[in-house]
Amino acid sequence: MSKRIFALLLLTILLGTVLCGCGGGSAATGSEEQQTSGSAGAAVQGGEITVGIAQDLDKSLDPHLAVTAGTKEVLFNIFEGLVKPTPDDELVPAVAQSYQVSDDRKVYTFTLRDGVTFHSGEAVTADDVIYSIKRCAAAEGDKKPLVEAFSNIQAVESPDPRTVVITLSQPDNEFLSYMTTAIIPRSYANQDTAPVGTGPFKFVSRTAQDSVVLEKYDGYWGTPAYLDRVTFKIIENADALVLALQSGAVDLCTHLTSTQISQLDEAAFTVREGTMNLVQAMYLNNAAAPLNNEKVRQALCWAVDKHAVIDLVSDGHGKAIGSSMYPTLSKYFDDTLTDYYTQDPAKAKALLAEAGYPDGFDLTITVPSNYQPHMDTAQVLAEQLKAVGVNAKIKPVDWNTWVSDVYVGRNFQATVVGVDASYMNARALLERFTAGYGKNFINYSNADYDALFQKALAEGDDAKRAELYRQMEKNLTEHAANVYVQDLADLVAVRKGLDGYRFYPIYVMDLASVHYVK
């Protein structure tokens, strides 16, 4: 029997984790505020707004090559896949009108929607879809395909101009989520600089380090955007961002800190709070001395008071965590690990002495400087570590430098960032730390951990798999893989008179629903 699925397919476990600095601010299900905010009024068509973003976009605006979450959240407005996510944890057909999955879950048949056009005005054809998917599935030499899960694709065909059939080598329950991969025109060479997609907004211009401008796409197939024009203004300086909001230069801004929020005029803004759905921690390079010594890492955990960090950095907003899982993934989240380590300087000192560092040591914490919450957290942690004799220096670096040195080069001692599961994906949060995994930037290597992960992969039963994941989390906590801190609060400031901002379960910023009210 083939199962026909329209809207209500709820996927919580998908593959692939995207890492982001400030974090993938995907305030999720269970975010504390509902969709409507106080100022309910009639939605007005038209108008323009300026959105403040804290980092410049990647050098390429090609959706398939986008690396950082900050770029992807902007591109979300320009591109769509065959299916697309909704604020309610669903995947709904977008470029496709409908799809069918075969009984063996190896054949996906998509029927394309009529009347979907690229911003260039051309209609989307099956060839464009095949091109887009094959582009992301292509593996050249040692290089992994752009979307790793696509290595599972055996064939992509179109039996007729309105249908695309994808055949997999292995059944994959989570495959559909990857069909959010952007559909791009086959014969268009300038995605890097002037992206063209099918989304509710079209790209207008980009000024390096300054802004990106989008305009409403009139030929959009679905519910059109309310706003005529959106300018993303890049303001890397946290201070300048506040002033820009306060003064009216920016109308909407996400991922703010409570300090930033406290500067704002309450009468002028509606503040919405969700969680970022990320694991903020001081990530430790488990291969670098002296952090390769488990006792040293445990000592660092005992030295830290994460609740104090949350109080100081975000006035108590944010949820303490104890392992690589955040509370929104409630099925997998183990709250008993949160306070596995409590602040105990005496114990920390004793462990350091055992490890051969009775007088402490020098620690360098590399932090992407454009993310104020991470900089602040690092400062508080450094202060707390001082009490046990660890002399921590903060090394602020540019985001690109962070990616190349820390994340790719793994040339660091400790770093404070947030690791995000932008596809609501418990598995990827944990797979990251298996030995030999490409994104295991902390060089965590633990045989038990890897064995548990293999067991979890083979486990068909959801509940049992969740249990195995929890054991993996416990393993990370016990061996002090990292100094876990919190899932940051995602504070969004929206100028009064604007409404319709919706939190998504993944790291996107959907501006199509934002509108002025009368």
Partner: protein, 325 residues
């Protein structure tokens, strides 16, 4: 004309040295531009091919010459961080910095010269002299970024003083010159003032002492003792002579104004070369950094030369081909 020719020769020579030093410095930086552009995952063959294509295998001297040739034809290479040419990036940011520097420089000239002359024109008394020195030193001690922050606080955050909202500009929202020239200039006025204040103080002080010394020259004393009007002598003879070192000093001020802009652009979020420079240093986008450094340095050297040439027009000794020093 010999003087002018020599000055121009020196200008060229200095430009060559400046650009060579900059070019060499950024060639010394560890890290391979080809790898930087392709990313860490690039295959060695790809890197080798790109190195060849970028001409990185040629000797430093050859690369410098071709870069310099590119510099004068507007081809500055391409940025590592943006899929864009360096000249396009720089071109976008140049107007704001240019406007800011010129505005700031005009403020210095227009305010400091009258003030400096006034300070001599009146008979100086001990007490006012002490007060003047103190105020002068205090203004000289004001770092542009601090003044900038204060100005932002006073006029940018909507501060209310006695119920009056002082907001005169919106930090981070610089109106485009083509759309709203008045707003553009008003916005830039604040960073320009922040940069100009200490330079004005320095120029006034410099002008003051130069004029005083000149007033004590024999020809002035004689002239005054013969019954000439003090102010008349001051304006007719003294000022002209005193302007020679002042012009040289003002040319140097251009250098400091440019440097000040780099910092102050950050304070006021002005999308200019300074912000691009800092961002590019952060993301190690060396082609952009290199281009901006050389452009700013050229500008400064050029200002210096223009200053020298003006000084020569003012000073007959120099016009005859002698040297000022």
């Amino acid at each position: 004309m010999r003087y002018a020719a020599r000055k121009l020769l020196t200008l060229l020579f200095t430009m060559v040295i400046v650009s060579l030093l900059t070019f060499a410095a950024f060639s010394l930086i560890p890290g391979d531009p080809a790898t930087a552009r392709l990313g860490m995952d690039a295959a060695p063959e790809e890197v080798a091919a790109l190195r060849e294509a970028m001409g990185l295998n040629r000797p430093l001297g050859v690369r410098y010459l071709s870069w310099l040739a590119g510099f004068f034809t507007g081809d500055l290479g391409s940025s590592y961080s943006y899929s864009s040419s360096v000249s396009a990036l720089v071109g976008q940011k140049l107007p704001a910095t240019l406007a800011l520097s010129l505005l700031s420089f005009s403020l210095v000239v227009l305010i400091s010269i009258p003030l400096g002359v006034r300070s001599v024109g009146r008979a100086a008394r001990r007490r006012t002299d002490a007060a003047r020195t103190a105020v002068n030193q205090l203004l000289m001690a004001l770092p542009p970024f601090f003044t900038g922050i204060l100005l932002t606080w006073l006029f940018g955050t909507g501060l209310r003083v006695f119920g009056v909202r002082l907001q005169l500009f919106v930090p981070g929202r610089l109106p485009a010159f083509s759309v709203h020239p008045g707003g553009f200039l008003l916005y830039l006025l604040f960073p320009a003032v922040a940069v100009a204040v200490p330079r004005i103080a320095m120029t006034v002080r410099m002008l003051h002492s130069t004029l005083l010394r000149e007033m004590n020259q024999d020809y002035v004393r004689t002239s005054i003792s013969r019954g000439s009007d003090r102010a008349g002598v001051l304006y007719r003879h003294v000022l002209k002579n005193a302007m020679v070192p002042v012009v040289a000093f003002l040319a140097q001020t251009m250098a400091e104004v440019v440097a000040g802009s780099i910092v102050v652009e950050q304070v006021f979020s002005v999308p200019g070369l300074g912000r691009l420079l800092l961002g590019s240093i952060g993301s190690r986008d060396w082609p952009v950094v290199q281009a901006i450094v050389v452009i700013l340095a050229f500008w400064v050297v050029l200002a210096g030369t223009v200053g020298d040439l003006i000084a020569q027009r003012l000073d007959p000794r120099l016009r005859l081909g002698g040297d000022r020093r």
